[in-house]
């Protein structure tokens, strides 16, 4: 990951937005603190537990964020990802466990003293303040002088592409612009950690993609440790250094996006991250057998027996030979098409293929397995195992 070595707008000296003499950043009383945080803080959750009236939101949650790392917390609703983020922000107390930031336990610190920037899912700009005043708010709380506040707020707005919006109020901004201002507001104080609680979920699809790329660019520029909560796997896989998938208050798997997609540790991960066809098969001698096809296993030491096999749609193809089936649906996705095929035993699979093929419902086709299964697990109920694309 690229670390910040240049003078970013937020590091600009308070007196001027122009480069400092001799190309060095003239550190001021405000921006000097940035030097310590420029590469981000190390965050460690250790055995964090949180109950909400009988519901265990976090059950021994463990996770480490390296300095300057962008980690996405991914999981279904109720998995505890937002609770974990709020616990780090100090907005939720914890029942057990510790949270360390650069080795210091912050579990008992009030939110206002944790020095974290946060962007919320809901629009959270203060309606009575202009965009610039919103960005200034955190600096005002830190006692920064008015002129420096205004200058740094302007710089932060420029960083998020809203240089001309200083005097706009929240009701005069679009949803995407409001979240950009919220991002500028969270970043302008040069916090130790940036917390993003589904900040894109209220935006339309196109703005989401643009803004998530902006967030990643800015995070890379500033080198700030970032925890990003989302339920959108596309978002998580697209921008995070590592993705932690949560389930029932715990981390189910944490790894790079490629790891999660290619080597999921469980059928849950295989099913949750990307699309997968879950089919009943057999493992024999280090191979998975599906409909008469032998597929190599990622883990050849897998014990023999009936298993649930997860196969990605891109590892299946429509071909002249293979398992016979009938097309039940076919959908267009721009650069690709996905076709659902029902086999004779009732199992259904999703096959990803080029857009030049136009299978129609009712067509008889054949499906060939071309890639290794991404996940193989002992089938809990082999009789009912089918497909869940």
């Amino acid at each position: 990951m690229t670390r910040n070595t240049s003078n970013t707008p937020l590091d600009t000296p308070t007196g001027s937005t122009a480069p400092a003499p001799s190309g060095q950043a003239a550190q001021t009383e405000v921006s000097s603190s940035a030097a310590t945080h420029r590469h981000g803080a190390v965050v460690e959750f250790s055995g964090v537990t949180k109950d909400f009236g009988g519901h265990r939101a976090l059950a021994g949650f463990d996770l480490t964020l390296h300095a300057g790392e962008f980690v996405a917390l991914l999981g279904p609703s109720g998995s505890g990802k937002t609770t974990a983020l709020r616990a780090l922000a100090g907005l939720e107390s914890t029942d057990a466990g510790i949270i360390l930031v650069d080795g210091v336990d912050v579990s008992t610190l009030p939110t206002s003293r944790r020095d974290m920037g946060m962007v919320f899912q809901a629009y959270s700009l203060f309606p009575h303040l202009s965009a610039g005043e919103n960005v200034e708010f955190g600096l005002r709380m830190r006692g920064v002088a008015a002129a420096a506040r205004r200058r740094r707020a302007g710089d932060a707005l420029a960083l998020v592409g809203l240089a001309g919006h200083y005097d706009r109020f929240a009701h005069q901004l679009s949803g995407g612009q409001q979240q950009r201002v919220a991002l500028a507001r969270a970043l302008v104080t040069e916090p130790r950690v940036l917390l993003l609680d589904e900040p894109l979920s209220a935006l339309d699809a196109k703005v989401r993609v643009t803004l998530r790329e902006e967030i990643r660019r800015i995070q890379t520029e500033l080198g700030i440790t970032t925890l990003f909560v989302t339920h959108d796997q596309d978002e998580a896989l697209a921008i995070a250094d590592r993705v932690a998938v949560m389930r029932d208050g715990r981390i189910e798997q944490v790894g790079t996006p490629e790891d999660l997609y290619s080597r999921p540790v469980s059928p849950f991960i295989a099913d949750f991250v990307g699309l997968s066809n879950q089919l009943t098969g057999m493992v024999r001698n280090g191979f998975a057998e599906l409909y008469g096809t032998r597929l190599p296993l990622l883990d050849p030491s897998q014990a023999d027996g009936t298993v649930l096999v997860a196969v990605r749609p891109e590892d299946l193809e429509l071909s002249a030979d293979g398992v016979a089936g009938v097309v039940t649906a076919s959908s267009f996705h721009g650069s690709l098409r996905r076709t659902r095929v029902r086999f004779a035993d009732g199992a259904e699979v999703s096959v990803q293929h080029g857009v030049r093929l136009h299978p129609a419902p009712g067509d008889a086709v054949r499906v060939r397995f071309t890639g290794a299964p991404v996940s193989v697990a002992a089938a809990a109920n082999p009789v009912q195992a089918g497909s869940r694309p």
């Binding site: 974290m116 009575h128 001309g164 990307g274």
Partner: protein, 284 residues
Amino acid sequence: MAAVTGPIVREGVAHAPSRAVRALILGVIGFLFVIPFVAMVEFTLRKGLAGGHDFSRWSALFQGGLTGPYRQVLVAVGNSVGLAVGTVLIVLLLLVPTMLLVHIRFPRLRRLLEFVCILPISIPAIVLVVGLAPVYSVLSRLAGSGVWTLSLAYGIIVLPYAYRAIQANLDAVDVRTLSEAARTLGAGWGSVLFRVLLPNLRRGLLAGAFIAVAVVLGEFTIASLLSRVNLQTALVVVSKADPYTAVILSLLSLILAFLLLLLIGRLGAERTSSPRHRPIGGRQ
């Protein structure tokens, strides 16, 4: 695979009435409100059995000044204004913090608070006084029987109106998220309250204050039954001696109330699009 979300749409008010319809509605309502005032003014201008109209009663009142029995009215005006201020303070210092606390920290108590606050509206004033009388007898021994003690009773009777006005504003503002955002930015609870929440609850607070002032200036029953002097009880005393002057004083008290409400409105005038700061040079 990709989550689907809808675009953020800013919708205008659907089927808003035209300017003419709005003017018509305003005109009709205004007309209905003006009738009693015009009648009152006409009544004060009557020359009695001789017929005709003149300003003799108005000029006599202003030239003679509020002396003798009318002097009591001035005292009563002072009392009522003081009671209005006291009642508004009770709303701002007790009700508002309680509502915020319940809204942010103890949302499960909201129904209970609402029930308690709405309760006074269902209790007739006479019943309220029967309940308050023994309380006031104790209060008189402890803190005297000054007219200011009425503000405690008024603080109770304005609860339903003030609560609804403030709650409507609380529901319209995402108080929880705003306070959390402020805290993550380094604000303590004091800053959260004064720099973020109260400015955004200004409409509700103003409405609550308006209602409190209006209720207090028009209150008669409790003051009369507890033998305290306020504007309304003083006007009743005057009306028994001189109904014309009582109506003139009623009109003046209405103007006073109007000016008071106007002052409150001005003090809390909202800033919506006139930022304090000018744009930063070179960044626009």
